[in-house]
């Protein structure tokens, strides 16, 4: 999968050009344009129904757009590929395999020439990375939601994908475990070399701010980009200080107000249509 290293000064990351996607005639995403720099952490933030999961599935190659172009490092996306690993909300692991077997399967796909002994050792290492050393022989149903998601992250790292696509991966977790796994994700992401490109779908504003370099705000019906915001807080980020800082509060409020504005715009647009209809 690894071709020539990009010789351009800034390695092109994920590119989305004029992408439209409809599901059985209903527009889901409308003229999406987005550039995601390689090695950055980007959140797709929006209310339910804004098509953020669909956009992630397009990036994964699980869906293909009706029009427009998606590319990774200049190469158009034609389907799923091992250079883009995915963590789903709650079903990334096969329930009939132990954690270790799930990770070993990814390792076997990433390097078909490796032998079982090598894969065993590597699986233990990747599971150790997410703090699951003692649970390698457990089946997913024996694990908490947080442990399953840590296992899913370990599996994606085992795939060796330079791009990590995450679809509300922590949405089902309680706040404490959620905070812990966010910190874990940031730690292993900043430890990855070269640094992985992460696209993280969430509807939680604070989660998006805490994790991201760039927040892409999506509005709904149909899904479209309403604003992109750089998050300039230095890394490594300290949760305690960050959430108390006025800058954090200001950014949160700015995002909140932008979504409120979008909502009001849509209500106005609808009532315009309604009053026009009443005039007929």
């Amino acid at each position: 999968m690894s071709h020539h290293p990009a010789t351009a000064p800034a390695a092109p990351g994920l590119q989305i050009d004029a992408v439209n996607f409809a599901y059985s005639g209903t527009p889901i995403l409308s003229s999406i344009d987005l550039d995601i720099a390689a090695g950055s952490f980007v959140s797709l933030l929006g209310p339910s129904g804004c098509g953020k999961t669909t956009l992630l599935r397009l990036l994964a190659g699980l869906e293909l757009p009706q029009s427009g172009r998606l590319a990774w490092q200049g190469r158009p996306l034609a389907g799923p590929s091992l250079d883009r690993g995915v963590v789903f909300q709650d079903y990334s692991l096969f329930p009939w395999m132990t954690l270790a077997e799930n990770v070993e399967l990814a390792l076997a796909k990433a390097d078909p020439h490796s032998d079982l002994r090598q894969r065993r050792a590597a699986a233990a290492e990747f599971l150790g990375l997410v703090g699951l050393d003692s649970a390698t022989a457990k089946y997913p149903y024996e694990l908490s939601g947080g442990m399953q998601q840590r296992g899913a992250i370990a599996r994606t790292f085992a795939l060796g994908s330079p791009v990590l696509l995450m679809d509300e991966p922590f949405g089902a977790l309680d706040p404490l475990n959620r905070a812990k796994i966010q910190d874990l994700l940031l730690a292993i992401w900043s430890g990855s070399n070269p640094r992985k490109t992460v696209v993280f779908v969430t509807h939680d504003i604070e989660e998006a701010i805490y994790l991201s370099d760039l927040i892409v705000m999506l509005g709904s019906t149909p899904g479209r980009v309403i604003q992109q915001l750089d998050v300039a807080f230095p890394r490594p980020r300290q949760r305690r200080e960050l959430v108390r800082s006025p800058e954090f509060a200001a950014l949160r409020q700015r995002i909140d107000e932008r979504f409120q504005q979008d909502l009001i715009d849509r209500i106005d647009a609808e009532s315009l249509v309604t009053s026009a209809a009443e005039g007929i």
Partner: protein, 286 residues
Amino acid sequence: MSTLSSAAAPLPRTSVSASSAQAASIAAPATVGAPFRPWRLLHGREGAVFLLALLALWLVVSTGLSFSGSYLFPSPWASLKALWISLPELLKGTASSFLILVPGYLLAVVAGIAWGLLVGTVPALHRLFSAFSRLASPIPPTIYIPYAIALLPSFRTAAGFIVFIGAFWPIFLNTAAGAGALPQRYRDNARILGLHGAEYLRRVVFPAALPHIFSGLSVGLVFSFIMLTVAELFGASAGLGRFIQLYADYADYPRMVAGILYTSVIVLLTTGLLEHVRRRSLFWVR
């Protein structure tokens, strides 16, 4: 939410009635005038009571009544005695029957699962085979018996073939349905990991379809026994069905009933074994 509450509903109801039944049986002697409801004592034991009632009916019909056909109803004691006497012959018959059943059934398991996974996964194969399968699967396999006996070199191969046909369709149909209904999440995961072909079938489709496959296996097993015993009635020189047929012909009804009881136990043990394997294999299904 709705599935959750409907699944949870029977539990409190049973526990409430169980505890009230308990309360009634404890409180009944002490509380004067409390209505005595003996049927509450039956709660949870209905199945055993029904079996005892059947046994009592058998006893009454076979020993208490005297009518022109009463020799057709041997008493439980006579039947048990016949069972004890015939045990060596029945064991030999079991071996003979299983020599037909096991190869026929196992062949159906392998063919039904492999072909079912392919037909459930590859749309072109589904289009190729579904018309034939809809046509052929509802045909009662018993109608092939005379032809199979005429066509195949020995009774054993003919009976094995009939067992195979009887077991194949339920196994194939359930496997194909399970593979065809593969949840989107497993398909997504397999595509993300780049799983294709045989590896995809073996590591994803097969385990995901296992709950369906096991329903097919148990229906197929029951069908195998039916096909086997029917085939043995036609032309076997040994076997369980042959045993029952033989003693019915001799009008030795205690032995015939013993054969029926023995065969039931063998079927129960075999299906119980399969159920055990099912529980062990599907540990991950919650």
